[in-house]
């Protein structure tokens, strides 16, 4: 066995380490992830709604205009922090559709009553299957869908009012 072979694990470890530092330091963290669905329509599926208003197909929701598809769950602390921002946006007339992701239905209903409901309608994805098709990384995530039903932008992780004013609002307005 060559002596140099013994250094291979070390080199691998250094490569892995630099990678993690790169991920943590650089802008390429989970907030900037692009979606393979960008420029494409949302996957089609019939999903039940928390409001018990029959099933809806996310890929046909754009017929009533552009919208944000917000992935949330009551188990997700960041969703709790993001919720007031969504309430504010809904007041300003932004159309928001909820995707209740891997959640407990009763808890979700209660959440909407207590924290106000900024969503036009909430689709249920209890087993995370639709989220999987969508490439959801975790909650919260927000997909910007234009009037043609195509995905324009994907926001991974919580966003604040400040982030909305600085960058996201212009994306939204460009879709109107």
């Amino acid at each position: 066995m060559n002596r140099a072979l013994f250094a291979i694990p070390l080199l691998l470890a250094i490569a892995m380490g630099s990678f993690f530092f790169y991920v943590m330091r650089s802008g390429i963290d989970i907030e900037a992830l692009k979606s393979p669905l960008l420029g494409k329509p949302l996957p089609s599926n019939q999903l039940a709604t928390i409001e018990f208003s029959g099933t809806r197909d996310p890929s046909s929701l754009h017929e009533q205009g552009p919208f944000l598809l917000n992935v949330w769950g009551t188990w997700c602390p960041a969703c709790f922090d993001e919720h007031p921002v969504l309430n504010r946006l809904a007041q300003e007339g932004v159309r928001i559709i909820g995707l209740n992701y891997q959640d407990d239905l009763a808890a979700a209903q209660r959440w909407l009553i207590e924290l106000h409901n900024p969503y036009e309608v909430n689709l249920i994805d209890a087993d995370g299957q639709y989220g999987f098709d969508l490439g959801v990384y975790g909650a919260p995530e927000t997909f910007f869908v234009n009037a043609d039903g195509l995905l324009v932008h994907r926001q991974v992780g919580e966003f604040t009012m400040e982030m909305w004013r600085n960058e996201l609002q212009s994306i939204w307005e460009s879709m109107l």
Partner: protein, 647 residues
């Protein structure tokens, strides 16, 4: 005041651990025996102060001192005392302190139970553990102190513990898991000590092995408890989700299992030395990687602790320092352990090699799939989500292959055996077991589910191989009883361990393939039938406890006319934390679980329910317990208890 004393004790422990990390190493290089002798008292001091610190934190929780931020975040006056205590490890800061206490506990155990080992080796082992403790104590003191105060606005009451965590499974699951995680620090310390001192022979392996086995037992139990907890507490009957945090515990388990088997070769045949060292380092590295993933928030997960970039970077720094230092040491010193181990291709060594290759491959694949969502965007390949189907597709075939080879491996002798001695009986058995498996599957399910057939073939395969192995050892001869008694506990450990794996596989396969579920609307007096069971809803009632109120359904289950059981699923409202939880009603029998959960309230006082009949679930828990028992048997082997081995 008490909280400040707790922090002070933690700082004292830090000083002890720094001394423990330093003095014995200096002693080893300078050959100062008095410095080497300092290792044990330092290990004791470090443990005592961490224990004091932990007990003071318990005290702060029990006295509801909400001026301490961590208590206010994790606890509440209305929590029963046992959840106040388990609340300590429900969050990041407290669980770090528990992690440290357990690490110090293992260090103390090594210090106390190593009288038979050469003094300098023990001292270096303890010093390496001291380094790990020192690094993580520094981390805890500076970024994650659970004793931090909130001033001036002291909350009147705490936020309450996350209701998911208010459960016996969660009282036990993290401590067990940490016992396992941290226990692999011992194997790691032994490996580093071998590299530093240059001493690594079969006696070294004999000392390192029981510690590794114990850590493995705890990790197995911890993972099993986690799965069991998810199964009955999350309310919907899932038991493994390939969640990043679950994977973070599974990867060290896979690599640690490889290490256990590789250590066997090092002990019995003085072989696989370099490989054993590498596995010991990597098992611990994966433990640290798991800690990093869980606590840095880099991967989104249900389990992940709150996101804090500084913490993540610090843990990453610890992980990398550990890895670079230990692998650097490996690159420099390990070549001296190069060996020429000769063994026949049909002997046990070959199969242990296969075992190691498969287990490590599994570990690496699970790690890659877990990290892929991070890796892909960096490589400019867009974004991916890896779901359970991908994991299953890769994991299950390799696992089946592993069990197939296991059937041969456990039959063979060391060094000189030939596959021929067992090949024929096994090859004749193979078609028989396949036929039997088909027949059993058909009798059970009236259909031929190939995955179920495969799991049964594997089970019969291991069963036959175990019987054959016992026959080879004379168990079925005239004086079989004597032969049975002559076998060392570690032999039974091996057979039981392999049996445990098979039981888990059977349970997992049957429940995935044969479970039936139905979502129904039910009110008082309505009934539904599922898989031959009749679920009759009697009535609803309201049940109260100190921190929750629940709607409870009283449901009777019949099979034909025979009364089976009464189930009482609940929808609990934890009003302080403001969360609603589903408490499933479960009746568990070896061959099936009845599992009823309440969905949401509907009109007219009805509720939606999910009824499930889940076959063979207890096989998984039983298999896990048998795995643990097997590990304990291996540790109990007489050769580890003889004190006079060295000299």
């Amino acid at each position: 005041m008490v909280a400040e004393l707790g922090l002070l004790a933690l700082i004292f422990a830090l000083i002890f651990s720094l001394l423990l990390a330093l003095l014995p190493i200096v002693g080893w290089y300078g050959r100062y025996s008095n410095l080497l002798a300092m290792a044990k008292p330092m290990a004791q001091g470090q443990f005592v102060f961490l224990l004091i610190s932990f007990l003071l934190l318990v005290w702060v929780f029990l006295t509801d001192d909400f001026s301490v931020a961590y208590v206010a975040q994790q606890s509440n006056t209305r929590l029963p005392y046992y959840y106040k205590i388990s609340g300590i490890w429900g969050g990041h800061e407290g669980s770090m302190l528990l992690w440290l206490l357990i690490l110090a506990g293992w260090t103390l155990a090594v210090a106390q139970f190593s009288k038979a080992l050469p003094k300098d080796l023990v001292a270096v082992v303890l010093a390496v553990m001291g380094m790990v403790t020192a690094a993580f104590t520094l981390f805890t003191v500076f970024t994650s102190s659970p004793f931090e105060r909130i001033f001036p606005d002291i909350p009147a009451d705490g936020r309450d513990l996350n209701p998911l965590l208010q459960d016996i499974g969660l009282i036990l699951h993290p401590p067990m898991l940490y016992m396992g995680y941290v226990g692999f620090a011992v194997a790691f310390a032994f490996a580093i000590a071998a590299l530093i001192t240059g001493r690594m022979d079969n006696l070294w392996a004999r000392w390192a092995r029981p510690w590794t086995d114990m850590a493995w037992v705890f990790l197995t139990l911890g993972i099993g408890l986690g799965s069991w907890w998810a199964y009955y507490e999350l309310g919907w009957g899932g038991w493994w989700f390939w969640d990043p945090v679950e994977n973070a515990s599974l990867i060290p388990w896979l690599v640690g299992t490889a290490l256990m088997h590789s250590l066997a070769v090092t002990e019995k045949r003085s072989g696989f030395k370099v490989w054993t060292l590498l596995l010991a380092i990597f098992t611990f590295a994966f433990v640290l990687l798991g800690t990093f993933l869980v606590r840095s928030g880099i991967l989104t997960s249900v389990h992940a602790f709150a996101n804090d970039p500084t913490r993540g970077q610090l843990i990453l720094a610890i992980l990398l320092t550990t890895l670079v230092a230990s692998l650097g040491l490996f690159a420099w010193r390990a070549p001296q352990f190069r060996e020429q181990l000769s063994f026949h291709p049909g002997s046990r060594e070959s199969f242990l090699l296969i075992n190691n290759v498969i287990l490590v491959t599994l570990g690496v694949i699970v790690a890659l799939l877990t990290l892929l969502p991070l890796l892909w965007p960096v490589l400019g390949m867009g974004q991916v989500s890896i779901g359970a189907p991908v994991f299953n597709m890769v994991f299950n075939p390799l696992m089946a292959l592993l069990i197939f080879f296991m059937g041969f491996g456990q039959l063979l002798q060391w060094k000189k055996d030939s596959l021929k001695t067992v090949l024929w009986p096994m090859l004749i058995w193979l078609p028989i077991s396949i036929l039997l498996a088909f027949a059993l599957t058909y009798l059970y399910g009236r259909t031929l589910n190939l995955l179920v057939v495969l799991s049964l073939v594997l089970a019969l395969w291991i069963l036959f191989s175990s019987l054959l192995s016992m026959q080879k050892r004379g168990v079925f001869a005239a004086d079989g009883w004597q032969a049975l008694r002559r076998q060392p506990p570690s032999y039974y450990g091996m057979l039981l361990g392999h049996l445990g794996v098979v039981l888990v596989v059977i349970g997992a396969t049957f429940v995935t393939q044969y479970e039936v579920k139905r979502d129904v609307r039910m009110g008082p007096g309505t009934e539904h039938e599922l898989a031959g069971y009749r679920f009759v809803l009697q009535d609803f009632e309201v049940v109260e406890a100190s921190n929750w109120v629940a709607d409870q359904a009283n449901m009777q289950v019949f099979r034909g006319q025979r009364f089976v059981t009464e189930l009482q699923p609940q929808k609990r409202d934890y009003f302080i934390a403001g969360q609603v939880m589903t408490e499933a009603g479960i009746q568990s029998r070896l061959h099936r679980d009845l599992y009823v959960s309440m969905g949401e309230p509907l009109t007219d006082g009805d509720w939606s329910f999910r009824l499930q009949v889940k076959p063979m679930v207890p096989f998984m828990w039983l298999g896990t317990l048998i795995l643990c028992l097997a590990g304990i048997l291996a540790v109990l082997d007489r050769r580890y208890r003889r004190g006079d081995d060295y000299e």
